[in-house]
């Protein structure tokens, strides 16, 4: 069967350092006046060099030499780290931006959903926005009219359909926006990480709706960091690394490949001899820190709920001391999550020594997915001798810790916790 999407040698090059991409006329004119000949030459050069001179400095290939065939009815998950080229691929396929090299052919109407609420106007009512957003996403007027009631029902806001959108709660806004998008019926649907918003209940509903769309034989390209969603929805999966295709295959295959590449073996160790985070007045006793998870050591990323050990090498040649290690776990935003140390926990009165390795093990790391940093406090049971803030950072990777095939949502706080529930039905009912 001929593929519905055929991509050959697709690449996109961006110029770097264009934080302020637009120029002012003054700059262009000043350049022209200051050195007319050179300016004319550079203009000519730029025209001749189109689409882009590959040797031009300070450029980056967001996507490079991609060959890909997507069959009809295939639901292709696209995964990779931030900056791997996932969004660039979708932007090229949805014709928002032009590729630098290569070509792609798509046989069918393309609907793209790169953001929730594209084209929504806060001053207009829900009804108006359904029409406007529908038209922007590529629906014809008649099509929107036909699906209007269904969209309102899906968004669960029939009473508020004539209310101005600026008075909506953020939840209502997202529901309406996704409801419009979910009723697009193109042959090819391109979806970026739009499900990262909204409440869990509605997310489930959207995933369900996307599943329906897939069962109707439509082709979907789906970018997500939500591995269980990829595994549940997709029939195949593409892994991008640094703009290149790292692999394509069944979701479980590719996801484990991805997770292995995220578990960088080189990370997870850091020298502490000269550390920028060392508190002023500290005596540099701690020499290095190394992270361990299970048998992997060093490791920069650990799965939720796994065993996690922090090893710290220290040396104090001048005098022997009774080592105490304090470990503070903080979120990437700097909020303290918890702190442990062997003095307060008790039972760990180590003997005096001049050098060694002190380690701290968590049997079930209770952290939600995300990036965390560790502060290390080293003392001799009397005073803090050496303190290093943000000594090392590590990543916690999602895992199905409750065995329910669902990931806990990241915004539910930095910690997950097991709990037991009880119910006593009231006999009066």
């Amino acid at each position: 069967m001929r593929p519905i999407i055929q991509i050959r040698g697709l690449g996109k090059q961006y110029r770097l350092g264009t934080r302020r991409p637009y120029r002012t006329l003054r700059e262009t004119m000043a350049g022209a006046i200051a050195s007319p000949v050179r300016h004319a030459k550079s203009v000519l050069k730029r025209i001749n060099a189109r689409p882009a001179n590959p040797r031009e400095r300070e450029t980056i290939w967001a996507l490079r030499d991609l060959d890909l065939d997507v069959g009809e009815g295939e639901v292709l998950g696209v995964i990779g780290r931030n900056g791997a080229g996932k969004s660039t691929l979708l932007k090229i396929l949805s014709r928002i931006t032009e590729p630098t090299t290569g070509r792609a052919e798509l046989y069918g109407r393309v609907g793209s959903l790169l953001e929730v609420g594209t084209g929504f106007h806060p001053e207009l009512t829900g009804r108006d926005n359904i029409y406007l957003s529908g038209a922007i996403l590529g629906m014809r007027r008649a099509e929107i009219e036909r699906k209007f009631d269904e969209i309102v029902a899906f968004a669960e806001l029939d009473k508020f359909v004539d209310t101005t959108v600026k008075h909506y709660s953020s939840g209502m806004y997202v529901r309406l926006a996704f409801a419009v998008a979910a009723h697009l019926e193109p042959e090819i649907l391109l979806v970026d990480e739009v499900l990262a918003v909204g409440d869990a209940e509605f997310q489930k509903k959207c995933l369900g709706k996307m599943g329906d769309v897939a069962r109707q034989g439509r082709t979907i390209l789906f970018i997500s960091h939500n591995m269980p969603a990829i595994e549940g929805l997709c029939t195949s999966c593409l892994l991008l690394t640094g703009g290149k295709m790292e692999g394509k295959g069944t979701p479980s295959e590719v996801i484990s490949k991805y997770l292995n590449s995220v578990l960088r073996p080189d990370a997870g160790r850091r020298s502490l001899k000269t550390h920028p985070g060392r508190r002023a007045g500290s005596i540099p006793i701690m020499e290095w820190v190394e992270l361990q998870s299970g048998v992997e050591r060093p490791i920069g990323a650990v799965r939720m709920d796994s065993q996690f050990t922090v090893h710290v090498g220290f040396s104090c040649p001048s005098r022997p001391l009774r080592p105490v290690l304090g470990v503070t776990v903080r979120t990437a935003q700097g909020a303290t999550v918890f702190n442990v140390n062997n003095k307060f926990i008790g039972g760990y009165d180590f003997d005096r020594c001049k050098a060694g390795t002190i380690s701290c093990t968590f049997d079930n790391l209770p952290l939600m997915p995300g990036t965390y940093t560790l502060d290390l406090w080293f003392n001799d049971r009397a005073s803090d001798l050496d303190v290093i803030f943000d000594a090392i950072s590590f990543e916690v990777i999602p895992a199905d810790v409750f065995g329910t095939a669902q990931l806990p949502w990241a915004y539910l706080g930095p910690i997950f916790c097991r709990a037991r529930f009880g119910l006593e039905p009231d006999s009066r009912n």
Binding site: M1, R2, I4, Y14, P21, Y22, R23, T24, L25, T28, R50, P51, E72, G73, K91, I92, L93, S94, R95, I96, T97, E98, P99, T100, T101, G102, R103, A104, E105, L106, Y107, G108, R109, V110, S112, L114, E115, T118, G119, H121, E123, L124, D128, Y131, L132, A135, I136, L137, G138, R140, R141, E143, R146, E185, P186, E187, R215, Q216, G217, R218
Partner: protein
């Protein structure tokens, strides 16, 4: 559309198993580097006509909703300008007005001019104002400056009510020539679209446009026979005035309304220049369009 119909007519199992690929009205979309001029597809614009109408409707609705006077501004702007000009140029400076009462002479020129200047200004800011759309969804980008001009037409229609009232007040009858207003409005819109579209594309790259344009537009008004008739200008300089496409157009409006002779030569110059400007603007826009999403 095709898929929606297919869904209703065929039982679900037929859809998933039978590949209806490459038949029916499925478009083939080819994405390549440097699509250039060949990528200009009128068919694509036609496909997005509903979007165009929705964007016009949004622009009008939002503007009237956010302002206290709403649609009143469409009337007040040319009307107050007319009053002001009548006092300054009609009464004080005694500028001639072709034997027509100065207020209606001025209003007949200000009506298309207000449309033109607002259309050009709004349309030149339209791409930057809709950056969120441009980076998130595909549609022919020309729809955006086009819709800004389209929204201006709505204002023009509203402001025309005053013109009708003034014609009645001054007892000026109309003839068949008034039908010429239709092609004249089209021509004004074409020229406004040409300038607006070109400026909107430049504005993405050079944000100076936003500041330079209002000034430029103001000068342009004085270079157009709005507050004075074309005869007011010495004969040997008149050709220069005619090279301004708006000259022929504004003269045309007055001829159509007041039953004067049409200066067909001037009108022909306007038409040729406007269409040429639109073709150039469309070409230039297509060239600039490729970078919009990356630059805006």
């Amino acid at each position: 559309m095709a898929s929606a119909l297919t869904k209703e007519i065929l039982p679900p199992e037929t859809q998933t198993s039978a590949p209806t690929l490459h038949d029916r009205e499925r478009p083939v979309i080819t994405i390549e580097a440097g699509g250039k001029w060949a990528g200009f597809e009128l068919a694509d614009l036609w496909l997005h006509r509903d979007l165009f109408l929705f964007l016009v409707w949004r622009d009008v609705k939002v503007r009237y909703k956010q302002t206290l006077l709403g649609a009143g501004w469409a009337i007040l702007q040319p009307f107050l300008t007319m009053v002001l000009f009548t006092l300054i140029f009609g009464k004080l400076a005694k500028v001639p007005s072709d034997g027509i009462p100065y207020p209606i002479f001025a209003y007949a020129g200000l009506l298309p001019w207000t449309f033109f200047s607002n259309a050009v200004t709004n349309s030149s800011n339209s791409l930057v104002g809709n950056a969120a759309l441009i980076t998130k969804v595909y549609f022919p980008r020309m729809v955006i400056p086009g819709a800004a001009v389209g929204a201006g037409l709505v204002d023009l229609a509203i402001a025309a009510v005053i013109l009708v009232a003034m014609m009645a007040w001054y007892g000026i009858g109309i003839g068949f020539a008034v039908l010429m207003l239709i092609p004249l409005v089209v021509l004004t819109a074409v020229f406004a679209l040409a300038v607006g579209m070109w400026m909107s594309g430049l504005n993405v790259k050079y944000r100076d446009i936003r500041y330079a344009l209002p000034f430029f537009v103001q000068i342009w008004m004085y270079a157009t026979p709005i507050i004075y008739p074309i005869d007011f200008v010495p004969e040997r300089w008149r050709w220069l005035l005619v090279l301004n496409p708006l000259t022929g157009i504004i003269e045309g409006y007055r001829a159509a309304l007041f039953g004067r002779r049409f200066a067909w030569g001037h009108l022909a110059v306007s038409a040729v220049l406007s269409i040429a400007a639109l073709v150039y603007a469309a070409y230039s826009f297509k060239q600039m369009e490729r970078d919009f999403a990356d630059v805006i």
